[in-house]
Amino acid sequence: MAESRFSNRICVVLGASHAGVNFAFSLRREGWDGEILLFDSDPELPYHRPPLSKTYLTNGDTIEKNLLKPEESYKKEGITLRLGTTVSTINKEAHTIILEDGDVQPYDKLVIATGARPIIPPIPGIDTSKNVFLIRSAKDIADIRSALKHSKSKRIVIIGGGYIGLEAAASLKKTGADVTVLEREERVLARVTAPEMSNFFKELHTENEVPILTAKDVKAIETQKGYNEVLCTDGSRYIADILILGCGIRVNQELAKEAGLDIENGIRVNSMARTNDKDIYAIGDCTFHYNPHYDRFIRLECVQNAVDQAKVAAAAICGKEPIYDTIPWFWSDQYDVKLQMVGLSEGYDRALVRKEVNRDNCFSIWYFKGDTLLAVDAVNNAKAYVYGTKFIKSGEKIDTSKLLDSSIEFKPSNLLAE
């Protein structure tokens, strides 16, 4: 191949997960023929994270079954994986990164895809409790599986009723464990969905014999012989052989901050995923970025954002001028229920629930601000998810009385406002 302007240049990527890996492959496709080096503290070949709280948690598969790409793909594309290697410093003046062991790696372009890590709430006793687990990495799951295998009574308490906590509850329940979810807010998924959706999931879990206990503020954990006792401020106590924390995440932005990059609610990037340093980009969960459709800066925790921002950064580094402009989407699988969400509901003034006739557990919530559709949450209803996506993109107005009338055949042309 002829030499290009990228030959002999080095692109270093911090973080080899959804964002970093998709970036590396996109960069090759965009024509970068210099080196590509991916660093990650995690020793495993990069894998899909969403299944960790879903099927993978309990299906016994090895991580090889859950890889983002097979090992040969990296070799074939000339992408070097430096796994089990933690990066400790970015020196943007020198255009180098420094590894944990002191080694120095120069770069021409640097991409930060360091994602996020779970929050460990400062609950007294949490450090000394036994069998306390997080759900973010393959190792976390290996540890939970092993604890589950060695536990006789399998009493599991999950602190936090967000998606990860609820998905883990559903997966673990299938193994016959005794699972309880403790949520501090008055309802689960309070930050991200309408009350109707919170109620639906609370009932779904209750039907599956997983108690979802809300307004439970955990104040301490006491470790007895072989098990933990979780104490709440209302005086209630729950026994946990295994304790799982699903209390949200914190962005891995320390390296960027110490390097003097702009930080807000994440690493601030422009519409090409570039930071305030012209040779440093950031992508995925760690970024605070502008969304043109919703006209505001946001931080997201979803595969869509990791993958799409990765493509934008790759194009930008290869000299194009892409603009990151997407409608976020997300999914969650619990028991036999599939939730699909599109858009950003924050700031809605009306949440309308459309039910489908003769179908149990099949409905959708449409979030509006004025007559503008902001977002749709669809339960076992891919049609609603797809139509919602189309309406949000096109901006066409919806006749809400038609939307709410389940006797009208559900298709976009039937929902349009006159």
């Binding site: 790409k69 097979p70 049609k383």
Partner: protein, 102 residues
């Protein structure tokens, strides 16, 4: 064992073999351009869209309801569209030709 032909949007032809897993996994494992499988195969992303060659549709069968719904995200979906993650590989698929959606 099934031999499956993928034709990418740049008209490259790849013939690959598989005996288990899904058509999406087979494609990702063989680096077939245009099949991303971003959701890991749970029918949530529609990035594994293929058009089955009409004479092979009897081997693959038509898309299921949720698949059809998800395929509507793509204006180019047609009666021969499938999501690769919903196509389990078996001997029955031997010889089929799949065109990767644009």
């Amino acid at each position: 064992m099934a031999k499956i032909t993928f034709i990418t949007s740049d008209n490259e032809t790849h013939i690959v073999e598989g005996d288990s897993g899904s058509v999406m996994e087979l494609a990702v494992n063989n680096g077939i351009q245009g099949i991303d499988g971003d959701c890991g195969g749970v029918c949530s992303c529609a990035t594994c869209h293929v058009h089955v060659s009409p004479e092979d549709i009897s081997k693959t069968g038509e898309a299921s309801e949720i698949e059809k719904d998800m395929l509507e995200l793509d204006d180019n979906a047609d009666a021969y569209s499938r999501l690769g993650c919903q196509l389990a590989i078996s001997d029955a698929l031997d010889g089929i030709v799949l065109r990767v959606a644009k």
